[in-house]
Structures are given as C-alpha cells and as structure tokens.
C-alpha cells in the first residue's frame, strides 16, 4: 500500500459536499439556528436579493449589489448566521413574483425593521401607507411625520430604505411631479410606477 492511495478514498467529496450542504438550511431552520435566509428572485428590474429573518423580511437589494456583499452587511448588522435558502425565502419571493405579474397590489409578508434607524422609521412607516397606484411627495411625508420643513431629510431617509418595493419608497416623488431620486436608480423607480399605473404624464 502507498500512502497516496488514501487520497483516492476522498474522491467525489466536492459533489457530495454540495448536496449535503444544500440540506443544511432546512436543518438549521428546524434547530432555530437560521437567523437570516437569503434568496434571489428574478424581476423586470433585475434579480432581487431578499433576506428574511424569523421576524420577517429585513432586506431587498437590487442586483447592482452582489449577494456576498449583501450577506456580509447583514452578517455584521444582524447576525453572521446567514444561509441561502429558497424555502425560507419562499413567501417573499412568491409575493414579489405576483406583484410583478400585476396579481398583487399589497404585500402580506411580515417586515423586520431592525435595519431601519432614526427618522427613517417614521418616514418609512408613513411611506408604507401610500397605496399601490398612488404617489405622495417628500413634503407630504415630512408633514405627516410632523416635520414639515424636513423634506430633504425625508429624501435621505427614503434613500436608505433597506426594503424597497415592499416599503414603497418609489411612490414618493418631488412636488410638482418630478420623479426625484431612487436608491435603485431612477429608471427602476419609473418602471415600478409604470407597472402600478401611477406614471405621471
């Protein structure tokens, strides 16, 4: 026997480890050890990355951020127990799919607001009340949170929205109907408003 023969016994481990690793997220969920499940869903505005915790949806990211980067941010902000899981992200992926198919006008998925801080908490709470197909303005939102002169701060808070689409910051425009900014780029904002039939002439 040569000691090098022993390496042959380990052959095929790469493929088998991939299969074994794929069942880990479900086992982790059963053991209450999965703090953050990440997944992706295709959409007309590019693949979306979603992150779900036991409390609900914590993050939606556009594909100009990569999955590893989003996972790293979540790991340092919430918990490093991050795993990719289609099953654990199933509800939000399904609801987003229905939204883009125009079969859904509001989201039922629970939301985890732990990544929302400071003034953004109030701003995004008000933003969540703007219904599908309607729009509001930075000034209106500022008024509703009791800070009528804080339109700029409202804009910044909307730009920091960790859960775009589901918290519909795309429905908040500048006074007079100009689109204003969008964390995911103005093109995406326009597409979302058009999908909702809220595009202004």
């Amino acid at each position: 026997m040569k000691t090098t023969d022993l390496k042959r016994l380990a052959s095929g481990a790469d493929g088998r480890s991939a299969v074994a690793a794929a069942s880990l997220p479900d086992l982790a969920t059963s053991a209450d050890l999965l703090d953050i499940a990440v997944g992706t869903v295709a959409s007309p505005i590019g693949d979306l990355i979603v992150a779900v915790t036991p409390r609900g949806l914590a993050r939606v990211a556009f594909d100009d951020e990569d999955l590893d980067q989003v996972a790293r941010e979540l790991a340092s902000a919430l918990s490093p127990r991050v795993l990719e899981s289609a099953r654990a992200t199933d509800q939000v992926r399904r609801e987003l799919g229905e939204y883009f198919d125009r079969r859904r006008t509001r989201f039922d998925v629970a939301v985890d607001r732990r990544l929302i801080h400071g003034i953004a908490r109030d701003v995004l709470a008000q933003t969540s009340r703007v219904p599908f197909g309607r729009t509001s303005t930075y000034g209106e939102i500022a008024g509703r949170i009791g800070r009528p002169r804080a339109a700029r701060a409202v804009g910044n808070a909307l730009g920091s929205n960790p859960i775009p689409i589901v918290i519909p910051c795309h429905r908040v425009l500048r006074a007079g109907g100009a689109l204003g900014g969008y964390g995911g780029g103005v093109d995406r904002k326009e597409t979302l408003l058009a999908l909702e039939g809220a595009m202004l002439a």
């Binding site: 026997m1 000691t3 090098t4 023969d5 022993l6 390496k7 042959r8 016994l9 380990a10 052959s11 095929g12 481990a13 790469d14 088998r16 480890s17 991939a18 074994a20 690793a21 069942s23 880990l24 086992l27 982790a28 053991a31 050890l33 703090d35 953050i36 990440v38 590893d68 996972a71 790293r72 979540l74 790991a75 340092s76 918990s79 490093p80 127990r81 991050v82 795993l83 990719e84």
Partner: protein
C-alpha cells in the same frame, strides 16, 4: 477597513462554501462514505450554533476541522453501529477506480482505532503538518506523529 474584513466573521454561507469540500474529504475517509453526510451535518450545525460567539474570522478552516475531528471520534465511540468494519465499505453507487483494491483499503482503514484513523486522514488525505494535526485533535505533536505512524504501519500490515 481592510482589517475589519479580514478579521470579521464572514456570513455562514461563505464559510460553508469555503470549507465544505475539505470537511467532506476528511469525513468521507474518517467515518466512511455511509455516515459522512450525517457527521457533516452535525459538524456544520455545531459550527452554526457557536458561530455568533466567534470574534475572529481567521483560521476558520482549522476551527471547523477541529469540530469535525471531534465529531468523527465521537461517532466511532458511539458506534456499536460499527459492528463490522465492512459496513463502511461503500456500495457500488460510489465510483472508484479499482473497486476490488479499494474495498480492501476501506476495510483496512475502517479497522483502525478512531484516533489513528483521524490522524492518518489529516496527514495523508489533507496533507496537514503534524503541529496542526495536534491542534486539530487536541493532542501533543508527539502523539499526533505516533497516531499517524502506528496507523500507517497497521495499514501496511493489512495490505501488502
């Protein structure tokens, strides 16, 4: 910033992706193909449980191999399931170059005492240095060397 990235604990998925193949190679030979999946899951669930307490993202490969080594040894100790070493010889669903010769090798490896088997795998499958094997197995370097050499001697006795 760079320091934070190198020392921070990566998301578990990245840690899993980076280490799963090495851990599986170790376990496939250390506990046998039949039980490798179970011990692999136990290893990574155990790692996941402890993961938020880690403060340093360096040397995670050695950390998880240490867990896997412990699990492999515990597995054999718990193992009245290991009634016959022949039970560890893979069925033909697992492809090998020379089935007859590897069956003999599998039987010989399976007959080793757990610590010798684990040490031999670290040394001759994963090519780890003795100092590291000692660390992985919580033993002295002398004990690691002894485990490897006794294991190899026994394998050579069993297989001409």
């Amino acid at each position: 910033m760079v320091v934070g990235v190198t020392r921070g604990v990566p998301p578990f998925q990245q840690f899993l992706d980076a280490n799963r193949t090495t851990v599986y190679r170790f376990l496939q030979v250390a506990v046998g193909p039949h039980d490798a999946d179970d011990v692999f899951q136990e290893t990574f669930l155990s790692a996941l449980r402890a993961y938020p307490r880690l403060r340093d993202g360096r040397a995670l490969d050695r950390w998880v191999l240490r867990i896997a080594s412990r699990k492999a040894i515990d597995h054999h100790r718990a193992g009245s399931r290991r009634a016959t070493p022949a039970g560890e010889v893979p069925d033909r669903a697992v492809p090998f170059d020379d089935p007859a010769r590897d069956d003999e090798l599998w039987r010989a490896v399976a007959s080793l005492p757990p610590r010798q088997r684990v040490a031999v795998v670290h040394r001759h499958v994963l090519d780890r240095p003795y100092g590291e094997i000692a660390e992985l197995m919580g033993s002295s370097e002398e004990a690691a060397r002894a485990n490897v050499s006794q294991g190899i001697r026994k394998l050579k006795e069993l297989i001409a």
